[in-house]
Amino acid sequence: MELKELSKRLEEVYRKIKAELNWEPVGPTPMPELSDLRNWDMRLLKTYKPFYAPFCDMCCICTFGKCDLTEHRRGACGIDIATQQARLVLLACLIGCSCHTGHAAHILDYLIEKYGPDKKIDLGEGVAVEAPHIRTVLGMKPETLGDLKVAIEYIYKELTHLLSSVHTGQEGSYLDYESKALHAGMLDHVGMEVAELAQISGFNYPTSVAETPLVDLGWNAFDKTKPIILFIGHNPATSTAVVDYLRESGLYDKVEFGGICCTALETARYSDRAKVVGPLSRQLFFVRSGIADVIMTDEQCIRTDITQEAAKVGSALIATLEKAMYGLEDATNMDTDEIVRKMVDEKKQFVILNPRKAAEVAVKVAMEIAPKRRKEWITEEEAKELAKKCSLCGLCEQVCPNLFNIGKGISEVAKGNFDTIRDIFNLCIGCGKCEEECPRNVPIFKIMQQAASKEVWKIRAGRGPIMDTEIRNVGAPITLGTIPGVIALVGCSSYPDHRDLAEVVEEFAKRKYIVVLSGCAGMVAGMWKDADGKTIYEKYPGNFDAGCVVNVGSCVANSHITGAAIKIANIFAALPLRANYEVMADYVLNRVGAVGVAWGPYSQKAAAIATGCNRLGIPVVVGPIASKYRRLYLSRKEEDDWRVMDARKKQIVDTGEPSPEHLIYVCETKEKLMVTLAKLCIRKNDTPQGRAIKLNHYISLYKKYMGGGLPEDLHLYVRRDADIPLVYKKEVKAYLDSIGWKPKEPVGLPTWIGTYPTKVPVDAVIR
């Protein structure tokens, strides 16, 4: 009976993924359900154990509660504090995954409406493996927009089951909740990939090219004498319609347009006239400047008080997506001229769900109200005057999530010194809590306008997928270790210091790592110039190669970064990927020295992205604020199980080598981050030459940022003399001798397959 059921399910799955198309054999886990990859997860969680830092002592999600979970108390439902944390992490991952998948589904429907379901997915000549995630997870090779619907429906189904497990009285094990969170993270990357494939094909974004246009970046990038339209959010359906409308109506160079957050990046891939104002942390600043004539919101990471903020400064506002309608009247079916009149004369704000119509209205309204708008930032004198109201009560400091002494900065401005407030501005995450709290109503944000840099920088428009040829070129050096690693800086902008990003890029690009960027991190890294006035995007080529700096695009473009890791296993190592998730993840974990950095993540999407990286074997380092995510995956290097299977000898070997040491890890300072990144690129597969290069960087970064000496755990990463970098030979040898270090054999083909219960045979990792 059970067997029959199973085969019925498989029959259904095989039909959906068109199993009869024989491009690769169908692997063991097509369209995996909640429990299909559970053994892999448990293997991960055995070495990288969940570490919980409860953000709240209570649970308040059902009417049994609130329940106090301190001192080993259980909730009225029986849950303990660890399981409760894991449940909340799963919930965050589900929110994140559904945001990306919701975005993907919307844009897909929009494009199918426009071009029909048979429109071909086309990523250009350089990309034959178009959908590494969909191929690996579902086992399907999508050819048309219509095919992508299969992936969306699969995610919808899994999401429903996962979400139901969060209900009171369901899952009772933190490990199983973690396995479910890892599942949600994996689905998230599939959802992001769908969005990217649809957008690139539907909007003709650049693809199969490394050198994409350089576009203007910074909040002074707009020509303020022209009408300005500002996009906030992540979905380009409407912003691209604005560009189309401007082109068709001959206004293309008469109106300024650009955005905050990912829609800015998406629009810049569509038109190099688009401006990228900046990351999420600059949203409220820019809105409060009143420089935008029209604000168009779409989805995700928009201030939920955007309607009030826009009204306060006289910017018009149009909400363009169902997911964020702000209680506004839906004018989708109203006459265009009537909407424009009401927006201009009566200052009404509307929802307009038809992109074409929203575009026309936005342009017309912007043209009408621009002549009356203030065109300049406030002056130094004005700022000084405003700052005089501050009584240095310190209430603002108490509510600042980044713990700044804002009152000090403001009171200095009153004396004519802008240095402190400028520093704070560089660190600020832009939440607005300080100004809200101020009992004297000091307009802190207005004053900070003076402190903000008026520089215009450059950012390279997102280039989308990594080309197959690039993968072929770097596959060997990455897996041997002679390219010391891939560092991917992604995610939101709640950094300890905005300047850290460009520094990290510089440090690792100079050392010939491959540096990849996306989302807000890609913007902030561009907001810095060297002595010659060049940004990182002008300094380093945009190829996926040693010493290059690649901006893949918006948040959903993160799927290309993880996709590149899968492509190394598939294209370079020639391992089949079709429905073969464990083999891909195992390869990435043990052989691809890639690390993600989310230095200022705040969102649930970031939680999902990071967790998806983790299931695929990519470690992630997060900034200190991310300790509030409640959960890390940490090993304890001296104590944990570092055994692997040597696939050549078919023997389990105890390597004692903690590589990679953690799966998700918090660093407190930039200095520690630099050193940690180099260390987390070490893999058991490194050749002696590759290992020596990686250790060279680990040691030299340690000396540079940690103040000299050798890393405390260096001995764990030296297998034989040949691993020791030449420059430090003497010092390292002396240290190793002093602690009684003994050489050990490197492992031929390190894998976890064969070390835990799995359907996959060890031979599956050999080619």
Binding site: A53, C56, T70, R636, V666, E668, G707, E712
Partner: protein, 187 residues
């Protein structure tokens, strides 16, 4: 040990936050009494201690004096090791904040001296958001040890914490007092 939060509704389901929260200590004698009660204390130093001045000294100098006077091993996090070495102090261990917390929550851990896990962990110089999360971990998962914070502001998740201190002179007086009392106990 730790006190209940000051106002707890009679019906606990109406409670605003957890019912276990730090006891404030500000008399150096009380602080030293807690330190002296411990058999295997540990001092975890964060990078802020290397940057903030108090009186005419860096915060880390107070930490060094406390560690010396109380014979307390030091765990250096982030970049604090380099600064300690400048003062001629070799830390007994180097772990990052989350790593030391992760080790501390294991009751079987052998501790930085290999003599067994610590029974009192003193913290100073870690960003307050990260410290708050780390102390929450220990509060929930390390019932085998107590925590004490000497930061300027109250840490609710610790077992013992200084209250919010708005004047640096007061903070300095407490730290000096701790050093003196430890020294006199030593004699």
């Amino acid at each position: 040990m730790s006190q209940l939060s000051p106002i707890i509704p009679y019906h606990r389901v109406n409670t605003l936050t957890g019912t276990r929260t730090a006891r404030t200590l500000e008399d150096p004698k009380d602080i030293v009494r807690q330190i002296k009660k411990a058999k295997r204390p540990l001092f975890v130093l964060g990078p802020i201690a290397t940057k903030v001045s108090l009186g005419d000294k860096l915060l880390i100098e107070y930490c060094i004096d406390i560690a010396k006077a109380g014979n307390i091993p030091i765990c250096a996090t982030a970049t604090t090791k380099a600064k300690l070495l400048e003062y001629g102090v070799k830390p007994d261990s180097v772990y990052d904040t989350v790593e030391i917390i992760n080790a501390l929550k294991d009751p079987e851990w052998k501790g930085v001296k290999g003599e067994g896990n610590h029974d009192l962990v003193i913290f100073l110089g870690i960003r307050s958001d990260l410290a708050n999360q780390g102390l929450s971990t220990l509060k929930h998962f390390a019932p085998h040890l107590s925590t004490l914070t000497l930061c300027k502001y109250y840490h609710p998740h610790a077992d013992y914490s200084l209250p919010n201190i708005f004047k640096d002179e007061k903070w300095k007086a407490i730290l000096d007092g701790v050093i003196e009392n430890l020294k006199s106990e030593q004699q």
